[in-house]
Each structure stands twice: as C-alpha cells, then as structure tokens.
C-alpha cells in the first residue's frame, strides 16, 4: 500500500517552486502526496494528516521565519492524537546566517525527526523517509 505524506509550506510563506519539486519527487518515489500548497497554519497540516491518515508531515519554509512558525508543532500533533507522526522540516529555516548544527538542534529539540538545510537533494530526504517508515512499522 502507498504511504501517505502531507506536504506544504508553513506560515505566510508563498514560495511554491520547491513545493512542486518535492511533490514531484515524492510522487515519483511512489508516495501518496497530499499537497496542501503554500501559506498553511500548523492546524491545516494536522487536519490534513488526520483525515488522510498520513504517516509523515513534510514542512517547508523558505522565508526565514520558519522557527517561529514551527514552534509547538509537535505538541499540537500529540494533542490531536497523531502521536508517532514523522515530522520533517527543510529550507531556509532561520533569519540570517547561522551555524547549521545549531539550527538543526533547535528544530530537533522542537520535536522534528529530520531537519534539512537549503539545497538538499530531495532524494536524500526520501531515503531517510523510507528508512524511518520501516523503523516505524517495527
């Protein structure tokens, strides 16, 4: 059975190109992609995942405000009954130039399973996803 992934851009961010690329990559890799497009609240990601019974949520952010937009996301998932949801986030996540390790740590502390810097090849993240989904099944 195809695994379902909710994909979208968070906050007041309307960058649509990367979103289309990820949609294409995930679909080509055999996933059922629920693409909710640009400018979404956390609630919209969570509602979409609830109705579609998704296994993972992929959050993109390019405009630098991702850190504020993503705060409390994991807690809300838990509140909504999506206990072991895989949360991925990627893009230009913070304001200005900052150490990547620090950025990654901050997002992992927020409860994201995987964090990706700008310019990541989608193939890399998809490989991680397949691995994570397998461990999730176990």
């Amino acid at each position: 059975m195809k695994k379902t992934i909710v994909l979208g851009v968070i906050g007041a961010d309307c960058h649509a190109v990367g979103n289309k690329i990820l949609d294409f990559s995930l679909s080509s890799a055999g996933f059922e992609v629920i693409n909710i497009g640009v400018m979404n609240t956390q609630e919209e990601f969570i509602n979409a995942a609830t109705e579609t019974n998704a296994q993972a949520i992929w959050v993109s952010s390019l405009y630098g405000h991702g850190e504020i937009d993503c705060r409390g996301f994991r807690q809300k998932c838990e509140e909504a009954g999506l206990q072991d949801m895989l949360l991925y986030v990627g893009g230009n996540l913070v304001v200005g130039k900052q150490e990547w390790e620090q950025v990654e740590k901050r997002f992992k502390d927020m409860g994201f399973n995987r964090v990706y810097p700008p310019g990541t090849n989608p193939v890399e993240a998809i490989k991680d996803l397949e691995k994570d989904l397998q461990t999730k099944v176990k």
Partner: protein, 462 residues
C-alpha cells in the same frame, strides 16, 4: 386544459399553486394553515377549496399533482465527520443542500453522552462521514459501531472513506440498521463532493421519512412528495441560473429567503476569486450552496435577530418610526402570527428584513484576508467570492408585503470599500412577488423548460 397542482406542506401554511402548462401561467395560488398534527389532509382541503373558488369560471382538470414538504419540523438531520473544518463541514453542506435542517454537527470519535444528545434531538436521518478515500477509517468505523449500538432506530446515510464501507456495512447489517451507502463527501483533501449524498438523502426522504411523518398515506390524493421544501427552492435557483436543455440560464445568482424562523441564502456560483493573485484556502464550496441562519427571522427568531444584530444595526434602517427596538423584537418573537398594523410597524418589519439580509449574506459569502509577508501583501480567500453575480433574488413574506423590497435586498450588497466580505457588488434585483420559487422548483423536476420560463416571467425587477 392541462393544469398542474403544486403543493407545499409548510410548517405553518399549506400552500397551493395551480399552473397552466400550455399557457405557462400561474392560474391561482391559495394557502391555509397546516394541519400536520391532526390530519394533514384537512389543511390541504381547505386550501384547495380556496383555490377552486378562484378557478370557478375556468374549466380545468389537474392532470398532475406534485408536493414538497417542510412539515413536522422539516427534514431533521445530524452531520457527523472527523475534523470539524473538513469532513464534518462537508457533511453539513451536503445535508443543507438537500434541504435538511441541521440539528447538530459532530466530529472525531463520538462518545456515549454525545449519542444521548443526538438521540434526544430526534433526527430523521444521520449523515455519517469521515476520512478521505483511503484516509482515516478508524473514526468512522468507531462511530458506525456506536450508532448501531445506541441509535438502531435512526436511518443512516454513509458518505465517508470508501475503504471503510465494507466494514460499516457488516456492522449495520448485523444490527439490522436502515442505512444507505453513498459517495464520500470529501473524497480528497479539501475537495467537496456533495451531489451524490444529496441525491441519496432525497431518495431516503421520499421512501422513508414521508411515511414516518404521516404524509405517505395521503399521497393518493396529493400526488407524490418529491423533496423537502428548501431543496425545491435551491432547485428553482439552479434552473434559473443554469437554464435547461432548451433555455439559456440567467447566469450566476443568489436567492435570499427571509422567513419567520430562519433566513436562507442560496448561491449558484463557482465563487472563484475575481481579483488576480489570490490564493484559495480551506474546504472547497459547493457550486449550489445553501446556508441557513437559524437566528435570523422575522417572528420566531426576532429576539435572536436582535441578539445577533444589536439595536444600532436595526436602527440604521429605521427612518421615521420610533421604537423600543429590544422590546419590539421580544414582543414579535412571542406573537409569531402578528401582522404589522401601522406604517411604523411595517417600517420596523422592513428594518428587520434588511438586517436579516445583510447578516445572512455576510455569513454566506467568502472572506478575503490580507497578510503582510516579507514579499509584500498576500491575499487569501476562504469561501465564495460572489462580488460579480448577475442577479440577487428575494423571496419570503416580508419582501412580498413590503413597499420597498429593493431597499431590504440591497442591504445585502457590498457597501464599504475594502470590506473583507465578498458580497455582491451590483447585481440586478428581482422579487418573487407571487411566491412561486418552491413551486417552480417542484415543477422543474418534471417540466424544467416551463418552470424556467414561468420563473423568468413572474420574477419582478425592483
């Protein structure tokens, strides 16, 4: 002469409309208080006697009789979904479009106290939705199980995740539940599909609900009851907007029906964004959309209208008349059969009608929000953009009896610049002066071309 008798069993009045199909004319209309509680046929016979009185000199024979009904509280429904903004909302919209009165909307996995609440509200039909096709099925299966256990007497229509159908079917069969499986109201995320469920509701209404409400036994005399009355109004609106096989329609339109207990708004329009560069958000809206405002009405809901609008808003529409607005609204909601007896009281009714139209349309239409982003202002639209609809049509007692129906209906138009509400800007305004919208919706089931032409002829420009 080939004449058709159209019957509307309302909660207060039984209304009859006689139509000459060849001449495409309304021959006569008559109404008499409904007698659903005792014997429904009494009220019908009284109205028929009034109608025949008018037709004394015209030789005629009714070759066909068609009826719609909102008697005995109308078609009372409960909508159940998973997420409130998604499948629960989609289920509600599907039921409203079928002409139902929504007693309540429920979401997520239900519990026993909610079941008790549903039972106490005495619904005629429960619409059970939840999950996209291939999406979540635990919730809808849980709810089906609970319904089968605790409410086995209420008919259920299933409009949820198709992957859960087999299991739900076996649960319901085991408990001998009356049910019907339809298509999913939200097959994919944010994509709404209401027509198949609406059709199933109509079928179940004809087959089961009519009987339960004691109307079935008189079908020999009154002809077939085809649909709930609000569905007939929506049908008339749709025929008028889209036209028929032979006739060109009027184009996108809105119908406002201001009644004693509720104000209904029907829009037949895609509602796509008028402005360029607007992103659409949220659940898709049905092309033929009906909304019901249970707190906006001329009599039963006069008090709640005041609560919703406030005295200032009502006062805005009062020119000469001086009233204790709060007191008058409370008085009217207690005396539901009160008719205005002076020019001042007429003016007060008109002001209430205008407020009902203003608020009901505001709630029906979509909203345009602007967000400030690092890339400048971005606009996003939730709901339908009805700015460019071509016609706004009014129906309901207050409009028919008013000397200035145009003023009441124009209260629903967009007035302020940069208002976030996407209300009609400059439509042509029509009035259902002869009160035939629901009758023509009925007629359109069998004779759409004639119904279309009669509507076009009898709606007056105001």
């Amino acid at each position: 002469m080939k004449a058709v008798l159209l019957i509307d069993f309302g909660s207060t009045y039984t209304k009859l409309t006689a139509v000459d199909l060849d001449a495409e004319e309304i021959m006569a209309v008559a109404k008499s208080p409904s007698t659903v509680e005792t014997d429904i046929i009494q009220g019908f016979n009284q109205a028929l006697a009034l109608l025949e009185e008018q037709l004394r000199k015209v030789p005629h024979e009714f070759t066909e009789r068609l009826a719609c009904s909102s008697a005995a509280g109308g078609l009372k429904m409960i909508a159940i979904g998973l997420v409130p903004e998604l499948t629960a909302e989609a289920a509600k919209r599907a039921a409203l479009g079928a002409g139902a009165r929504i007693l309540g909307t429920y979401s997520y996995q239900l519990d026993r106290s909610e079941m008790k609440e549903i039972n106490e509200s005495r619904p005629d039909i429960i619409l059970l939705a939840g999950g996209t096709d291939g999406g979540n099925k635990d919730c809808i299966i849980h709810n089906a199980g609970l319904l089968a256990e605790m409410l086995p007497q209420v008919p259920v229509i299933v409009g949820g995740n198709k992957k859960a159908r087999d299991e739900i079917e076996s649960i319901f069969r085991r408990k001998n539940i009356c049910f019907c499986i339809s298509e999913n109201v939200m097959p994919r995320l944010n994509v709404i599909q209401v027509e198949p469920v609406r059709e199933t509701i109509k079928q179940m209404f004809i087959e089961r609900i009519i009987e339960a409400k004691g109307i079935k036994k008189v079908e020999k005399i009154i002809g077939n009851v085809l649909m709930p009355t609000p569905a007939a109004v929506l049908k008339a609106a749709q025929v008028l907007a889209d036209g028929t096989d032979l006739e060109e329609g009027l184009g996108e339109l809105v119908v406002v029906d201001i009644g004693g207990a509720t104000t209904d708004v029907h829009s037949i329009a895609t509602g796509e964004a008028v402005q360029a560069g607007v992103t659409l958000r949220g659940l898709q809206e049905p092309y033929a959309k009906r909304s019901v405002e249970g707190d906006l009405g001329m009599r039963v809901s006069a008090r709640s209208l005041w609560e919703a609008a406030g005295s200032k808003k009502i006062k805005k529409y009062l020119v000469a008349a001086q009233f204790d607005i709060e007191g008058r609204c409370k008085e009217l909601s207690a005396r539901v059969d009160a008719l205005p007896r002076s020019p001042e009281e007429e003016e007060f009714d008109e002001a209430m009608g205008a407020v009902a139209a203003e608020i009901a349309i505001e709630r029906h239409v979509g909203v345009l929000e602007s967000q400030y982003t690092p890339n400048g202002i971005i606009y996003s639209q939730t709901g339908k953009d009805l700015q460019n609809i071509k016609y706004l049509i009014g129906t309901g007692g207050v409009l028919v009896h008013s000397k200035q129906p145009g003023m009441i209906l124009r209260a629903g138009l967009s007035r302020e610049e940069n208002s976030p509400y996407l209300k009609p800007l400059n439509p042509k305004i029509l009035l259902d002066k002869t009160y035939i919208m629901s009758a023509m919706g009925l007629l359109a089931e069998r004779y759409p071309d004639q119904a279309f032409r009669i509507l076009k002829r009898y709606l007056e420009k105001v």
